[in-house]
């Protein structure tokens, strides 16, 4: 897996070549800022659904090419937090927020940022696998097609193949690319969704409990995949499963009742939690 990744120039060039085209919409900050270690900076984020406040003053730095895990019990606001990072919440009626979210130093909620082009840079994988009920090939080709990311059919074929390989699904589906995606198993469907997200070459992949609907075997495959992906791009993972957080996370944020309780590097936060609540959650006493 790692070996062939190095051969594929398409993806090695990806962040630069894709962001070059985005300079028009104010998303490309290359040159104007030094490439810092921090890719996404969340500062003072409050979020509301109507009158109900679900996030309180979250400030968080997400590092480039690492796995940042947001963990916490159900209903703590972790999904809301991750969905503000690519503006998926724009679609939710009644959602509002204040505070600032910067991608490469640029506020993603500022008026000159096109939410469509933002989603090319920040991809997303959902909790329940949601493949489109069309062929496996067309699922992966969907993003490149709508954004016209290729000139020839062969280029698209290559994007599809590479994306499926990166998602560790190629060997299982290479002989039936034209089969309907719904014929895949749950774990395969989720990896297809990852491949679909990878096909537009995002810099950040947001994963909202990607393995919570899967069996243990598929879960460990997804976890391996997350660790591999972090070599190429930035992964933000939401999970309520702290074993999973410990296995894949470089940095872990613990969210409780809409507040960021603790944020730290992976082994440390589990071994020596500074906060009482974190300790209770990590030891399984807080649900």
């Amino acid at each position: 897996m790692v070996l062939w990744l190095k051969k594929v120039e398409l993806f090695e060039k990806a962040p630069d070549s894709s962001s070059a085209g985005l300079s028009k919409v104010g998303l490309d900050m290359e040159g104007s800022y030094p490439a810092s270690e921090v890719l996404i900076r969340i500062s003072g984020l409050n979020a509301f659904y109507g009158q109900l406040q679900v996030l309180y003053d979250i400030s968080l730095d997400i590092k480039r090419k690492s796995v940042t895990v947001i963990m916490g019990p159900s209903g703590c606001g972790k999904s809301t937090l991750i969905r503000t990072l690519n503006r998926m919440n724009d679609l939710v009626p009644g959602f509002s927020h204040n505070g600032r979210i910067e991608l490469d130093g640029k506020d993603i909620y500022s008026k000159d940022v096109d939410p469509i082009l933002l989603k090319i840079r920040v991809g997303m994988v959902f909790q329940k696998p949601n493949p489109f009920p069309i062929s496996i090939y067309e699922n992966v080709a969907f993003g490149p097609r709508i954004h016209k990311m290729f000139r020839k059919k062969e280029e698209l074929d290559r994007i599809v193949e590479n994306s499926l390989k990166r998602a560790a699904l190629w060997d299982e589906v290479k002989d039936r690319l034209q089969a309907n995606a719904m014929s895949l198993s749950g774990g395969q469907q989720q990896r297809l969704c990852i491949a679909r997200a990878l096909a537009v070459q995002p810099e950040v992949i947001l994963m909202d409990e990607p393995a919570s609907a899967l069996d243990p075997g598929s879960t460990s495959k997804i976890e391996e995949l997350i660790v591999e992906l972090a070599n190429e791009c930035t992964v933000v993972l939401v999970t309520h499963n702290m074993q999973q957080a410990a296995r894949v996370g470089n940095e872990v944020a613990f969210l409780y009742k809409g507040r960021l309780i603790e944020f730290g590097e992976s082994p440390g936060i589990f071994e020596n939690p500074r906060n009482q609540l974190t300790e209770e959650y990590v030891s399984g006493r807080l649900t």
Partner: protein, 307 residues
């Protein structure tokens, strides 16, 4: 079964001998009820199916014995019985009217269905009104639509009895079916799939064009075919708007058009054997068209869904 288990069962049963009797009796009654229901179900299937099959058989038999090149290529010659030669004018007229009304109704219906499902908000009062009106329209007796078509298209617009007046009237009849099936089929596309498309940076139009319409296509096509097979069988609105003609359709305006249902209706009542034969043949052709449309819809959609 394990020995301990039977022991415990016997222990609990021993003090209640009446319990077993009740259970056995209840079971007998249940079986009897089931037999009665099954009998009634089979009976009603026979009652429903027999006339249908009998009718299919009659028209298929008559149609297949009567069908000939002459009857398909010559035109009707009026009700004198001197030689009600063929159905060419009725076939051509029916095809023309159905084709033109589909041409009006399909784009309009599908587009307004897309608007209702994708662009109108949940509480859009205009959309609610459109849905209500289209449901009412679907229930309006077709003869009333024909009357309205007669007044508006034939008299007010002054198009006379004509293919255009007939097609527009039929299009109004088809519209609610196409509109509602498109609306329903599109709204069935799950939110998770819409979310997936948005997360890839899809615009709403891209999502509708490349994904939702594709997923909803079987439903939309079924609605279109259903509306066509309904309008194929319409007589009343056409009496008011197309009148009838013994000649092949020659002009779109100011020119009455023949159609198959008129032949069935009128020629079956004439005291001439040749006229009755043409009525049978026309009925057979209508039935054939409806059956074919339904077959195409079923088989085609099943194949499409498998991909």
């Amino acid at each position: 079964m394990m020995p301990e288990e039977t022991e415990t069962v016997q222990q609990t049963r021993a003090p209640f001998p009446w319990r077993d009797k009740r259970i056995a009796r209840n079971n007998r009654i249940r079986k009897l009820k089931w037999r009665i229901i099954a009998f009634l179900a089979v009976l009603s299937v026979i009652v429903v199916l027999y006339p249908l099959l009998d009718m299919l058989y009659l028209f298929a038999y008559k149609g297949l014995t009567l069908i000939s090149l002459a009857r398909l290529t010559q035109t009707t010659t009026g009700g004198t019985g001197v030689g009600n030669a063929g159905l060419a004018n009725a076939i051509a007229g029916s095809a023309l009217i159905i084709g033109m009304s589909s041409l009006f109704a399909v784009p309009l219906g599908v587009l307004s269905g897309i608007y209702l499902a994708e662009f109108a908000g949940e509480r859009d009062r205009y959309a609610g009104m459109v849905r209500f009106v289209s449901d009412v329209l679907a229930g309006v007796p077709s003869i009333i639509l024909g009357y309205a078509g007669f007044f508006v298209f034939v008299l007010y617009f002054g198009w006379g009895f004509s293919a255009v007046a007939a097609s527009l009237t039929l299009a109004i009849l088809m519209l609610p079916y196409i509109l509602r099936t498109t609306d329903v089929a599109l709204r069935k596309v799950p939110d998770s799939i819409r979310e997936g498309a948005y997360a890839l940076g899809s615009s709403k139009t891209d999502m509708i064009n490349r994904l939702n319409l594709r997923i909803a296509l079987p439903g939309i096509v079924t609605g279109i075919l259903l509306s066509i097979s309904i309008s194929v069988g319409e007589t009343a609105p056409l009496l008011y708007t197309a009148s009838f003609s013994n000649y092949l359709p020659s002009a779109l305006f100011h020119s009455p058009v023949g159609y198959l249902t008129y032949v069935v209706w009128t020629y079956s009542q004439l005291p001439f054997a040749q006229a009755n034969d043409l009525a049978y043949l026309a009925a057979f052709l209508l039935m054939l068209i409806v059956v074919l449309i339904n077959l195409v819809a079923r088989v085609g959609m099943r194949r499409f869904m498998k991909i």
